[in-house]
Protein backbone atom coordinates (compact mmCIF):
# COMPACT_ATOMS: atom_id res chain seq x y z
CA UNK A 1 0.00 0.00 0.00
CA UNK A 2 2.92 2.26 0.85
CA UNK A 3 4.25 1.89 -2.68
CA UNK A 4 0.90 2.67 -4.25
CA UNK A 5 0.60 5.81 -2.15
CA UNK A 6 4.15 6.71 -3.13
CA UNK A 7 3.26 6.24 -6.79
CA UNK A 8 0.33 8.59 -6.37
CA UNK A 9 2.49 11.21 -4.66
CA UNK A 10 5.13 10.87 -7.35
CA UNK A 11 2.58 11.37 -10.09
CA UNK A 12 1.35 14.56 -8.45
CA UNK A 13 4.94 15.74 -7.97
CA UNK A 14 5.86 15.11 -11.61
CA UNK A 15 2.72 16.87 -12.79
CA UNK A 16 3.40 19.80 -10.47
CA UNK A 17 6.96 20.21 -11.77
CA UNK A 18 5.74 20.08 -15.35
CA UNK A 19 2.99 22.59 -14.66
CA UNK A 20 5.50 24.96 -13.12
CA UNK A 21 7.88 24.51 -16.05
CA UNK A 22 5.24 24.78 -18.76
CA UNK A 23 3.53 27.86 -17.37
CA UNK A 24 6.66 29.52 -16.04
CA UNK A 25 8.67 32.20 -17.81
CA UNK A 26 11.20 29.72 -19.23
CA UNK A 27 8.62 27.58 -21.04
CA UNK A 28 9.84 28.45 -24.53
CA UNK A 29 13.51 27.58 -24.02
CA UNK A 30 14.92 24.51 -25.68
CA UNK A 31 15.91 22.81 -22.45
CA UNK A 32 12.42 23.02 -21.00
CA UNK A 33 10.81 21.86 -24.21
CA UNK A 34 12.99 18.77 -23.99
CA UNK A 35 12.78 18.35 -20.23
CA UNK A 36 8.99 18.37 -19.88
CA UNK A 37 8.28 15.28 -22.00
CA UNK A 38 11.28 13.53 -20.44
CA UNK A 39 10.00 14.23 -16.92
CA UNK A 40 6.59 12.99 -18.03
CA UNK A 41 8.08 9.78 -19.43
CA UNK A 42 10.22 9.17 -16.36
CA UNK A 43 7.23 9.74 -14.07
CA UNK A 44 5.19 7.20 -16.02
CA UNK A 45 7.99 4.64 -15.75
CA UNK A 46 8.40 5.19 -12.00
CA UNK A 47 4.68 5.05 -11.33
CA UNK A 48 4.47 1.87 -13.42
CA UNK A 49 7.30 0.31 -11.41
CA UNK A 50 5.81 1.29 -8.06
CA UNK A 51 2.31 0.19 -8.97
CA UNK A 52 3.46 -3.19 -10.25
CA UNK A 53 5.42 -3.77 -7.05
CA UNK A 54 2.84 -2.29 -4.73
CA UNK A 55 -0.11 -4.19 -6.16
CA UNK A 56 2.05 -7.28 -6.82
CA UNK A 57 0.88 -7.57 -10.41
CA UNK A 58 1.94 -11.01 -11.69
CA UNK A 59 4.65 -11.15 -14.33
CA UNK A 60 2.26 -12.63 -16.91
CA UNK A 61 0.17 -9.47 -16.89
CA UNK A 62 2.66 -6.64 -16.68
CA UNK A 63 6.36 -6.87 -15.81
CA UNK A 64 7.98 -3.96 -14.00
CA UNK A 65 10.26 -1.66 -16.06
CA UNK A 66 13.27 -2.71 -13.97
CA UNK A 67 12.63 -6.35 -14.88
CA UNK A 68 12.33 -5.43 -18.55
CA UNK A 69 15.59 -3.47 -18.38
CA UNK A 70 17.31 -6.39 -16.65
CA UNK A 71 16.02 -8.78 -19.29
CA UNK A 72 17.09 -6.37 -22.01
CA UNK A 73 20.65 -6.16 -20.70
CA UNK A 74 20.86 -9.92 -20.04
CA UNK A 75 19.75 -10.94 -23.54
CA UNK A 76 21.60 -8.40 -25.65
CA UNK A 77 23.10 -11.07 -27.97
CA UNK A 78 19.68 -12.59 -28.72
CA UNK A 79 18.12 -9.17 -29.23
CA UNK A 80 20.95 -8.19 -31.57
CA UNK A 81 20.47 -11.38 -33.61
CA UNK A 82 16.74 -10.73 -33.86
CA UNK A 83 17.40 -7.13 -34.81
CA UNK A 84 19.77 -8.15 -37.60
CA UNK A 85 17.38 -10.81 -38.88
CA UNK A 86 14.23 -8.68 -38.85
CA UNK A 87 15.45 -5.15 -39.31
CA UNK A 88 18.67 -5.31 -41.33
CA UNK A 89 17.86 -8.32 -43.48
CA UNK A 90 14.08 -8.14 -43.70
CA UNK A 91 12.92 -4.57 -43.27
CA UNK A 92 15.91 -2.62 -44.57
CA UNK A 93 16.53 -4.64 -47.73
CA UNK A 94 12.81 -4.65 -48.49
CA UNK A 95 12.66 -0.92 -47.84
CA UNK A 96 15.52 -0.18 -50.22
CA UNK A 97 14.14 -2.44 -52.97
CA UNK A 98 10.57 -1.25 -52.57
CA UNK A 99 11.39 2.45 -52.44
CA UNK A 100 13.74 2.36 -55.43
CA UNK A 101 11.25 0.31 -57.46
CA UNK A 102 8.47 2.75 -56.59
CA UNK A 103 10.67 5.71 -57.46
CA UNK A 104 11.68 4.30 -60.85
CA UNK A 105 8.09 3.38 -61.59
CA UNK A 106 6.97 6.90 -60.69
CA UNK A 107 9.58 8.44 -63.00
CA UNK A 108 8.45 6.15 -65.81
CA UNK A 109 4.77 6.84 -65.22
CA UNK A 110 5.37 10.56 -65.00
CA UNK A 111 6.16 10.77 -68.71
CA UNK A 112 2.62 9.81 -69.63
CA UNK A 113 -0.28 11.92 -68.45
CA UNK A 114 -2.70 9.10 -69.21
CA UNK A 115 -0.85 6.58 -67.06
CA UNK A 116 -0.54 9.07 -64.24
CA UNK A 117 -4.27 9.76 -64.19
CA UNK A 118 -4.91 6.04 -64.05
CA UNK A 119 -2.25 5.12 -61.55
CA UNK A 120 -2.82 7.79 -58.91
CA UNK A 121 -6.35 6.69 -57.88
CA UNK A 122 -5.38 3.02 -58.03
CA UNK A 123 -2.23 3.67 -55.98
CA UNK A 124 -4.12 5.73 -53.41
CA UNK A 125 -6.68 2.97 -53.16
CA UNK A 126 -4.10 0.23 -52.69
CA UNK A 127 -2.14 2.29 -50.16
CA UNK A 128 -5.21 2.26 -47.87
CA UNK A 129 -5.68 -1.52 -48.03
CA UNK A 130 -4.55 -3.97 -45.33
CA UNK A 131 -1.52 -5.13 -47.32
CA UNK A 132 -0.01 -7.02 -44.35
CA UNK A 133 -2.56 -9.64 -45.32
CA UNK A 134 -0.36 -10.67 -48.24
CA UNK A 135 2.16 -11.98 -45.71
CA UNK A 136 0.94 -15.61 -45.70
CA UNK A 137 1.03 -15.72 -49.51
CA UNK A 138 4.52 -14.27 -49.74
CA UNK A 139 5.79 -16.54 -46.96
CA UNK A 140 4.45 -19.46 -49.01
CA UNK A 141 6.30 -18.25 -52.12
CA UNK A 142 9.63 -17.13 -50.72
CA UNK A 143 10.09 -19.50 -47.82
CA UNK A 144 10.44 -18.82 -44.10
CA UNK A 145 13.70 -16.85 -44.17
CA UNK A 146 14.18 -13.10 -44.52
CA UNK A 147 13.47 -13.06 -48.26
CA UNK A 148 9.74 -13.44 -47.65
CA UNK A 149 9.83 -10.65 -45.05
CA UNK A 150 11.64 -8.39 -47.48
CA UNK A 151 8.99 -9.22 -50.09
CA UNK A 152 6.18 -8.22 -47.71
CA UNK A 153 8.02 -4.97 -46.97
CA UNK A 154 8.47 -4.27 -50.69
CA UNK A 155 4.74 -4.64 -51.30
CA UNK A 156 3.89 -2.50 -48.27
CA UNK A 157 6.19 0.44 -49.00
CA UNK A 158 5.70 0.44 -52.76
CA UNK A 159 2.39 2.26 -53.08
CA UNK A 160 2.83 5.05 -50.53
CA UNK A 161 6.19 5.97 -52.07
CA UNK A 162 4.82 5.67 -55.61
CA UNK A 163 1.82 7.90 -54.94
CA UNK A 164 3.87 10.52 -53.15
CA UNK A 165 6.58 10.59 -55.80
CA UNK A 166 4.07 10.90 -58.65
CA UNK A 167 2.30 13.69 -56.80
CA UNK A 168 5.61 15.40 -56.05
CA UNK A 169 6.80 15.33 -59.66
CA UNK A 170 3.72 17.40 -60.57
CA UNK A 171 4.62 20.08 -58.07
CA UNK A 172 6.35 22.50 -60.41
CA UNK A 173 4.32 25.36 -61.86
CA UNK A 174 3.86 25.97 -65.57
CA UNK A 175 6.00 29.12 -65.22
CA UNK A 176 8.96 27.18 -63.86
CA UNK A 177 8.68 24.52 -66.55
CA UNK A 178 8.44 27.22 -69.22
CA UNK A 179 11.59 28.78 -67.86
CA UNK A 180 13.44 25.50 -68.28
CA UNK A 181 12.04 25.30 -71.80
CA UNK A 182 13.38 28.74 -72.66
CA UNK A 183 16.79 27.60 -71.43
CA UNK A 184 16.46 24.79 -74.04
CA UNK A 185 16.84 22.26 -71.26
CA UNK A 186 16.42 18.63 -72.27
CA UNK A 187 13.85 16.44 -70.53
CA UNK A 188 16.42 14.98 -68.15
CA UNK A 189 18.01 18.37 -67.40
CA UNK A 190 14.60 19.71 -66.52
CA UNK A 191 13.98 16.60 -64.49
CA UNK A 192 17.18 16.67 -62.43
CA UNK A 193 17.49 20.43 -62.01
CA UNK A 194 13.87 21.41 -61.49
CA UNK A 195 11.29 18.71 -61.03
CA UNK A 196 13.20 16.20 -58.90
CA UNK A 197 14.33 18.79 -56.31
CA UNK A 198 10.79 20.20 -56.23
CA UNK A 199 9.43 16.71 -55.61
CA UNK A 200 11.81 15.97 -52.72
CA UNK A 201 9.50 17.06 -49.86
CA UNK A 202 6.81 14.75 -51.20
CA UNK A 203 9.21 11.88 -51.78
CA UNK A 204 10.52 12.15 -48.25
CA UNK A 205 6.98 12.24 -46.93
CA UNK A 206 6.43 8.88 -48.62
CA UNK A 207 9.79 7.56 -47.40
CA UNK A 208 8.94 8.53 -43.82
CA UNK A 209 5.56 6.80 -43.95
CA UNK A 210 7.35 3.78 -45.39
CA UNK A 211 9.83 3.48 -42.48
CA UNK A 212 7.05 2.55 -40.06
CA UNK A 213 5.35 0.30 -42.59
CA UNK A 214 8.61 -1.53 -43.25
CA UNK A 215 9.03 -2.52 -39.59
CA UNK A 216 5.36 -3.46 -39.24
CA UNK A 217 5.57 -5.62 -42.37
CA UNK A 218 8.74 -7.40 -41.30
CA UNK A 219 7.44 -8.13 -37.80
CA UNK A 220 3.93 -9.21 -38.77
CA UNK A 221 5.22 -11.42 -41.59
CA UNK A 222 7.17 -13.40 -38.98
CA UNK A 223 3.91 -14.30 -37.26
CA UNK A 224 3.15 -16.44 -40.34
CA UNK A 225 6.31 -18.48 -40.16
CA UNK A 226 9.99 -17.70 -39.70
CA UNK A 227 13.30 -19.32 -38.81
CA UNK A 228 13.92 -19.52 -35.06
CA UNK A 229 15.27 -15.99 -34.94
CA UNK A 230 13.70 -12.59 -35.49
CA UNK A 231 11.72 -10.02 -33.56
CA UNK A 232 8.27 -11.21 -34.63
CA UNK A 233 9.24 -14.83 -33.96
CA UNK A 234 10.61 -13.94 -30.51
CA UNK A 235 7.49 -11.95 -29.64
CA UNK A 236 5.08 -14.70 -30.63
CA UNK A 237 7.03 -17.52 -28.95
CA UNK A 238 7.75 -15.52 -25.79
CA UNK A 239 4.07 -14.66 -25.52
CA UNK A 240 3.38 -18.40 -25.76
CA UNK A 241 5.83 -19.06 -22.90
CA UNK A 242 4.35 -16.14 -20.93
CA UNK A 243 7.83 -14.59 -20.78
CA UNK A 244 6.43 -11.09 -21.02
CA UNK A 245 9.67 -9.42 -19.93
CA UNK A 246 11.24 -10.76 -23.14
CA UNK A 247 8.28 -9.50 -25.19
CA UNK A 248 8.67 -6.04 -23.72
CA UNK A 249 12.42 -6.10 -24.36
CA UNK A 250 11.69 -6.84 -28.03
CA UNK A 251 9.15 -4.04 -28.11
CA UNK A 252 11.81 -1.69 -26.75
CA UNK A 253 14.11 -2.81 -29.57
CA UNK A 254 11.31 -2.29 -32.12
CA UNK A 255 10.56 1.16 -30.73
CA UNK A 256 14.23 2.17 -30.78
CA UNK A 257 14.75 0.80 -34.28
CA UNK A 258 11.59 2.47 -35.54
CA UNK A 259 12.30 5.91 -34.16
CA UNK A 260 16.01 5.83 -35.12
CA UNK A 261 15.13 4.76 -38.66
CA UNK A 262 12.54 7.52 -38.90
CA UNK A 263 14.96 10.02 -37.40
CA UNK A 264 17.65 9.04 -39.90
CA UNK A 265 15.34 9.55 -42.86
CA UNK A 266 14.18 12.86 -41.37
CA UNK A 267 17.82 13.96 -41.03
CA UNK A 268 18.53 13.12 -44.66
CA UNK A 269 15.38 15.02 -45.59
CA UNK A 270 16.63 18.04 -43.70
CA UNK A 271 19.90 17.96 -45.60
CA UNK A 272 18.25 17.46 -49.01
CA UNK A 273 15.32 19.85 -48.72
CA UNK A 274 17.05 22.62 -46.77
CA UNK A 275 15.46 25.18 -49.10
CA UNK A 276 11.87 24.21 -48.30
CA UNK A 277 9.84 26.58 -46.08
CA UNK A 278 9.02 23.80 -43.60
CA UNK A 279 12.75 23.22 -42.96
CA UNK A 280 13.73 26.83 -42.43
CA UNK A 281 13.77 27.50 -38.73
Amino acid sequence: MMLVALAFVLWLLGWWINTRLAEGPVAQTRVVRLAVPLIFGATILLVWELLVRGLQVPLVILPAPSLIAARFMASLPILWQDFVQTFVKGALSGYLIGCSAAFLMAVAVDRSDFLRRGLLPVGNFVAALPIVGTAPILVMWFGFDWQSKAAVVVVMVFFPVLVNTVAGLRETSAMQRDLMETYAASYWQGFFKLRLPAAMPFIFNGLKIATTLALIGAIVAEFFGSPTVGMGFRISTSVGQLALDMVWAEIVVAALAGSLFYGLVALIEKAVTFWHPSQRG
Binding site: A22, R33, L115, R116, G118, V122, G133, W141, A254, A255
Partner: protein
Amino acid sequence: MRSVLAVLTVVAAIVAIWYAACLPMNIKGVLTEAERAGAVVSPEGAAARRAMSPWALVARNGFAIPATWEQERPRLPAPHQVAVELWQTTVNKKITSKRSLVYHGWVTLSATLLGFAIGTGLGILLAVGIVHSRVMDMSVMPWAIVSQTIPIIALAPMIIVVLYSVGVQGIIPKAVISAYLSFFPVVVGMVKGLRSPGPMQLDLLKTYFASGGQVFWKLRLPASMPYLFASLKIGIAASLVGAIVGELPTGAVAGLGARLLAGSYYGQTVQIWAALFAAAILAACLVGLLGLIERVTLKRMGMAA
Protein backbone atom coordinates in the same frame (compact mmCIF):
# COMPACT_ATOMS: atom_id res chain seq x y z
CA MET B 1 -14.28 10.75 -68.16
CA ARG B 2 -10.69 10.47 -69.32
CA SER B 3 -9.66 9.65 -65.78
CA VAL B 4 -12.15 6.77 -65.60
CA LEU B 5 -10.74 5.40 -68.82
CA ALA B 6 -7.19 5.75 -67.49
CA VAL B 7 -8.06 3.97 -64.25
CA LEU B 8 -9.75 1.17 -66.16
CA THR B 9 -6.66 0.80 -68.37
CA VAL B 10 -4.40 0.50 -65.35
CA VAL B 11 -6.70 -2.04 -63.69
CA ALA B 12 -6.89 -4.04 -66.93
CA ALA B 13 -3.09 -3.99 -67.17
CA ILE B 14 -2.81 -5.29 -63.61
CA VAL B 15 -5.27 -8.12 -64.32
CA ALA B 16 -3.39 -9.01 -67.51
CA ILE B 17 -0.07 -9.12 -65.65
CA TRP B 18 -1.73 -11.26 -63.02
CA TYR B 19 -2.95 -13.80 -65.63
CA ALA B 20 0.49 -13.85 -67.22
CA ALA B 21 2.15 -14.37 -63.84
CA CYS B 22 -0.01 -17.44 -63.27
CA LEU B 23 1.86 -19.21 -66.10
CA PRO B 24 5.35 -19.41 -64.58
CA MET B 25 4.04 -19.67 -61.02
CA ASN B 26 1.80 -22.68 -61.63
CA ILE B 27 3.35 -24.47 -64.60
CA LYS B 28 5.41 -26.96 -62.58
CA GLY B 29 2.48 -28.13 -60.51
CA VAL B 30 0.28 -28.40 -63.59
CA LEU B 31 2.86 -30.48 -65.48
CA THR B 32 3.33 -32.84 -62.55
CA GLU B 33 -0.42 -33.38 -62.38
CA ALA B 34 -0.68 -33.83 -66.15
CA GLU B 35 2.11 -36.37 -66.18
CA ARG B 36 0.41 -38.34 -63.43
CA ALA B 37 -2.78 -38.31 -65.47
CA GLY B 38 -0.88 -39.82 -68.40
CA ALA B 39 -0.27 -36.83 -70.68
CA VAL B 40 2.98 -36.51 -72.60
CA VAL B 41 5.07 -33.79 -71.02
CA SER B 42 8.43 -32.54 -72.16
CA PRO B 43 10.85 -33.05 -70.51
CA GLU B 44 9.64 -36.12 -68.62
CA GLY B 45 10.07 -36.50 -64.87
CA ALA B 46 9.60 -33.84 -62.22
CA ALA B 47 13.32 -33.92 -61.37
CA ALA B 48 14.31 -32.91 -64.90
CA ARG B 49 11.88 -30.00 -64.80
CA ARG B 50 12.93 -28.66 -61.45
CA ALA B 51 16.08 -26.98 -62.73
CA MET B 52 14.43 -25.50 -65.82
CA SER B 53 13.17 -21.96 -66.00
CA PRO B 54 9.36 -21.77 -65.76
CA TRP B 55 9.08 -19.77 -69.00
CA ALA B 56 10.92 -22.47 -70.95
CA LEU B 57 8.50 -25.04 -69.55
CA VAL B 58 5.56 -22.89 -70.63
CA ALA B 59 7.04 -22.61 -74.14
CA ARG B 60 7.57 -26.35 -74.47
CA ASN B 61 4.19 -27.38 -73.05
CA GLY B 62 1.76 -24.98 -74.67
CA PHE B 63 -1.16 -27.36 -74.14
CA ALA B 64 -0.88 -26.87 -70.35
CA ILE B 65 -1.47 -23.12 -70.40
CA PRO B 66 -5.25 -23.17 -69.77
CA ALA B 67 -4.72 -25.55 -66.87
CA THR B 68 -2.52 -23.02 -65.04
CA TRP B 69 -5.64 -20.92 -64.54
CA GLU B 70 -7.79 -23.81 -63.32
CA GLN B 71 -5.70 -25.58 -60.68
CA GLU B 72 -7.33 -26.50 -57.41
CA ARG B 73 -4.48 -25.41 -55.16
CA PRO B 74 -2.37 -23.13 -57.36
CA ARG B 75 0.61 -21.18 -56.07
CA LEU B 76 -1.02 -18.11 -57.63
CA PRO B 77 -4.74 -18.40 -58.29
CA ALA B 78 -6.08 -16.65 -61.38
CA PRO B 79 -8.32 -13.59 -60.87
CA HIS B 80 -11.48 -15.40 -61.92
CA GLN B 81 -10.79 -18.21 -59.44
CA VAL B 82 -10.60 -15.67 -56.64
CA ALA B 83 -13.73 -13.94 -57.90
CA VAL B 84 -15.61 -17.25 -58.02
CA GLU B 85 -14.46 -18.14 -54.51
CA LEU B 86 -15.50 -14.70 -53.25
CA TRP B 87 -18.92 -15.08 -54.87
CA GLN B 88 -19.33 -18.64 -53.54
CA THR B 89 -18.44 -17.73 -49.98
CA THR B 90 -20.40 -14.50 -49.76
CA VAL B 91 -23.56 -14.76 -51.87
CA ASN B 92 -24.04 -18.51 -52.18
CA LYS B 93 -23.48 -19.37 -48.52
CA LYS B 94 -25.83 -18.78 -45.63
CA ILE B 95 -24.30 -16.02 -43.54
CA THR B 96 -24.50 -18.22 -40.44
CA SER B 97 -22.25 -20.80 -42.10
CA LYS B 98 -18.69 -21.11 -40.80
CA ARG B 99 -17.47 -20.95 -44.40
CA SER B 100 -19.22 -17.71 -45.23
CA LEU B 101 -16.92 -14.75 -45.67
CA VAL B 102 -19.77 -12.47 -44.63
CA TYR B 103 -19.74 -14.18 -41.25
CA HIS B 104 -15.95 -13.90 -40.89
CA GLY B 105 -16.01 -10.36 -42.22
CA TRP B 106 -18.61 -9.37 -39.65
CA VAL B 107 -16.52 -10.85 -36.81
CA THR B 108 -13.58 -8.71 -37.90
CA LEU B 109 -15.71 -5.68 -38.72
CA SER B 110 -17.44 -5.60 -35.34
CA ALA B 111 -14.09 -5.62 -33.53
CA THR B 112 -12.79 -2.95 -35.91
CA LEU B 113 -15.77 -0.65 -35.40
CA LEU B 114 -15.84 -1.06 -31.62
CA GLY B 115 -12.11 -0.38 -31.38
CA PHE B 116 -12.31 2.49 -33.83
CA ALA B 117 -15.11 4.13 -31.82
CA ILE B 118 -13.16 3.79 -28.57
CA GLY B 119 -9.87 4.94 -30.10
CA THR B 120 -11.42 7.91 -31.88
CA GLY B 121 -13.39 9.00 -28.82
CA LEU B 122 -10.36 8.87 -26.53
CA GLY B 123 -8.19 10.46 -29.20
CA ILE B 124 -10.52 13.44 -29.59
CA LEU B 125 -10.75 13.85 -25.82
CA LEU B 126 -6.98 13.84 -25.45
CA ALA B 127 -6.63 16.29 -28.33
CA VAL B 128 -9.08 18.66 -26.65
CA GLY B 129 -7.07 18.36 -23.46
CA ILE B 130 -3.82 19.00 -25.29
CA VAL B 131 -5.15 22.11 -27.00
CA HIS B 132 -6.45 23.58 -23.76
CA SER B 133 -3.62 22.69 -21.41
CA ARG B 134 -0.03 23.74 -21.99
CA VAL B 135 1.23 21.10 -19.58
CA MET B 136 -0.48 18.28 -21.40
CA ASP B 137 0.66 19.67 -24.72
CA MET B 138 4.30 19.78 -23.70
CA SER B 139 4.23 16.46 -21.83
CA VAL B 140 2.13 14.21 -24.04
CA MET B 141 2.36 15.58 -27.56
CA PRO B 142 6.01 14.63 -28.22
CA TRP B 143 5.23 11.06 -27.16
CA ALA B 144 2.14 10.93 -29.37
CA ILE B 145 4.29 11.98 -32.33
CA VAL B 146 7.08 9.53 -31.52
CA SER B 147 4.53 6.73 -31.16
CA GLN B 148 3.72 7.13 -34.87
CA THR B 149 7.22 6.06 -35.82
CA ILE B 150 7.26 2.82 -33.84
CA PRO B 151 5.54 -0.40 -34.86
CA ILE B 152 3.07 -0.53 -31.97
CA ILE B 153 1.32 -3.40 -33.71
CA ALA B 154 4.04 -5.60 -32.20
CA LEU B 155 2.11 -5.29 -28.94
CA ALA B 156 -0.86 -7.15 -30.44
CA PRO B 157 0.01 -10.74 -29.45
CA MET B 158 0.82 -9.67 -25.92
CA ILE B 159 -2.43 -7.79 -25.44
CA ILE B 160 -4.43 -10.83 -26.53
CA VAL B 161 -2.62 -13.15 -24.14
CA VAL B 162 -2.62 -10.73 -21.21
CA LEU B 163 -6.32 -9.99 -21.55
CA TYR B 164 -6.98 -13.70 -21.91
CA SER B 165 -5.11 -14.43 -18.69
CA VAL B 166 -7.29 -11.97 -16.78
CA GLY B 167 -10.39 -13.58 -18.26
CA VAL B 168 -11.23 -11.18 -21.08
CA GLN B 169 -11.72 -12.74 -24.49
CA GLY B 170 -13.82 -12.55 -27.59
CA ILE B 171 -14.25 -9.19 -29.24
CA ILE B 172 -12.63 -6.99 -26.57
CA PRO B 173 -8.91 -7.83 -27.04
CA LYS B 174 -9.13 -7.23 -30.79
CA ALA B 175 -11.04 -4.03 -30.18
CA VAL B 176 -8.31 -2.86 -27.80
CA ILE B 177 -5.69 -3.36 -30.50
CA SER B 178 -7.86 -1.55 -33.05
CA ALA B 179 -8.42 1.23 -30.56
CA TYR B 180 -4.78 1.98 -29.86
CA LEU B 181 -3.86 1.80 -33.52
CA SER B 182 -6.49 4.41 -34.42
CA PHE B 183 -5.84 6.46 -31.27
CA PHE B 184 -2.57 8.19 -32.16
CA PRO B 185 -3.38 9.28 -35.73
CA VAL B 186 -6.60 10.83 -34.43
CA VAL B 187 -4.80 12.65 -31.61
CA VAL B 188 -2.17 14.11 -33.92
CA GLY B 189 -4.66 15.07 -36.64
CA MET B 190 -7.18 16.51 -34.22
CA VAL B 191 -4.61 18.65 -32.40
CA LYS B 192 -3.55 20.06 -35.75
CA GLY B 193 -7.20 20.72 -36.63
CA LEU B 194 -8.12 22.36 -33.34
CA ARG B 195 -5.10 24.63 -33.73
CA SER B 196 -5.92 25.53 -37.35
CA PRO B 197 -7.91 28.75 -36.67
CA GLY B 198 -5.59 31.69 -37.21
CA PRO B 199 -4.92 34.57 -34.80
CA MET B 200 -7.34 36.78 -36.76
CA GLN B 201 -10.23 34.42 -36.19
CA LEU B 202 -9.36 33.91 -32.53
CA ASP B 203 -9.09 37.67 -32.05
CA LEU B 204 -12.49 38.15 -33.64
CA LEU B 205 -14.08 35.81 -31.14
CA LYS B 206 -12.25 37.63 -28.38
CA THR B 207 -13.79 40.93 -29.51
CA TYR B 208 -17.17 39.17 -29.38
CA PHE B 209 -16.32 38.43 -25.73
CA ALA B 210 -16.69 34.67 -26.38
CA SER B 211 -15.97 32.29 -23.50
CA GLY B 212 -13.49 29.43 -23.86
CA GLY B 213 -16.33 26.98 -24.41
CA GLN B 214 -17.85 29.16 -27.09
CA VAL B 215 -14.52 29.48 -28.89
CA PHE B 216 -14.26 25.71 -28.81
CA TRP B 217 -17.77 24.89 -30.06
CA LYS B 218 -18.14 27.70 -32.58
CA LEU B 219 -14.64 28.02 -34.00
CA ARG B 220 -12.13 25.32 -33.09
CA LEU B 221 -14.36 22.27 -33.47
CA PRO B 222 -15.87 23.25 -36.87
CA ALA B 223 -12.43 24.27 -38.13
CA SER B 224 -10.98 20.89 -37.16
CA MET B 225 -13.43 18.83 -39.23
CA PRO B 226 -11.33 18.44 -42.41
CA TYR B 227 -8.34 17.36 -40.30
CA LEU B 228 -10.53 15.03 -38.25
CA PHE B 229 -11.84 13.25 -41.34
CA ALA B 230 -8.38 12.90 -42.85
CA SER B 231 -7.13 11.19 -39.70
CA LEU B 232 -10.31 9.13 -39.32
CA LYS B 233 -9.63 7.60 -42.72
CA ILE B 234 -6.10 6.66 -41.66
CA GLY B 235 -7.43 5.48 -38.31
CA ILE B 236 -10.08 3.13 -39.68
CA ALA B 237 -7.61 1.50 -42.06
CA ALA B 238 -5.21 1.01 -39.14
CA SER B 239 -8.07 -0.35 -37.01
CA LEU B 240 -8.90 -2.97 -39.59
CA VAL B 241 -5.26 -4.05 -39.83
CA GLY B 242 -5.20 -4.21 -36.03
CA ALA B 243 -8.27 -6.43 -35.86
CA ILE B 244 -6.88 -8.76 -38.53
CA VAL B 245 -3.47 -9.01 -36.88
CA GLY B 246 -5.19 -9.48 -33.53
CA GLU B 247 -6.72 -12.69 -34.83
CA LEU B 248 -3.38 -14.21 -35.82
CA PRO B 249 -1.47 -15.12 -32.66
CA THR B 250 -4.26 -16.85 -30.75
CA GLY B 251 -5.37 -19.08 -33.56
CA ALA B 252 -8.82 -17.48 -33.51
CA VAL B 253 -11.48 -19.58 -35.20
CA ALA B 254 -13.45 -16.76 -36.78
CA GLY B 255 -12.57 -13.59 -38.61
CA LEU B 256 -10.71 -12.62 -41.77
CA GLY B 257 -7.33 -12.99 -40.03
CA ALA B 258 -8.31 -16.51 -38.96
CA ARG B 259 -9.25 -17.30 -42.58
CA LEU B 260 -5.82 -16.07 -43.73
CA LEU B 261 -4.06 -18.17 -41.12
CA ALA B 262 -6.13 -21.31 -41.77
CA GLY B 263 -5.58 -20.91 -45.49
CA SER B 264 -1.82 -20.65 -45.03
CA TYR B 265 -1.76 -23.73 -42.76
CA TYR B 266 -3.69 -25.93 -45.19
CA GLY B 267 -2.28 -24.53 -48.43
CA GLN B 268 -5.72 -23.25 -49.52
CA THR B 269 -4.35 -20.43 -51.63
CA VAL B 270 -7.68 -19.50 -53.20
CA GLN B 271 -9.12 -19.12 -49.73
CA ILE B 272 -6.26 -16.82 -48.68
CA TRP B 273 -6.73 -14.62 -51.72
CA ALA B 274 -10.48 -14.50 -51.21
CA ALA B 275 -10.03 -13.47 -47.57
CA LEU B 276 -7.45 -10.90 -48.64
CA PHE B 277 -9.81 -9.39 -51.18
CA ALA B 278 -12.65 -9.44 -48.69
CA ALA B 279 -10.44 -7.46 -46.30
CA ALA B 280 -9.51 -5.07 -49.09
CA ILE B 281 -13.15 -4.56 -50.08
CA LEU B 282 -14.06 -4.03 -46.43
CA ALA B 283 -11.30 -1.44 -46.02
CA ALA B 284 -12.33 0.31 -49.24
CA CYS B 285 -15.98 0.41 -48.11
CA LEU B 286 -15.08 1.81 -44.69
CA VAL B 287 -12.79 4.50 -46.12
CA GLY B 288 -15.34 5.25 -48.84
CA LEU B 289 -18.12 5.57 -46.28
CA LEU B 290 -16.05 7.98 -44.23
CA GLY B 291 -15.29 9.93 -47.40
CA LEU B 292 -19.01 10.18 -48.10
CA ILE B 293 -19.79 11.37 -44.57
CA GLU B 294 -16.95 13.86 -44.93
CA ARG B 295 -18.38 15.23 -48.19
CA VAL B 296 -21.89 15.58 -46.76
CA THR B 297 -20.71 17.10 -43.49
CA LEU B 298 -18.33 19.60 -45.05
CA LYS B 299 -20.97 20.56 -47.60
CA ARG B 300 -23.55 21.27 -44.93
CA MET B 301 -20.95 23.27 -43.03
CA GLY B 302 -20.17 25.23 -46.17
CA MET B 303 -16.56 24.04 -46.28
CA ALA B 304 -16.75 21.83 -49.36
CA ALA B 305 -13.77 22.29 -51.60
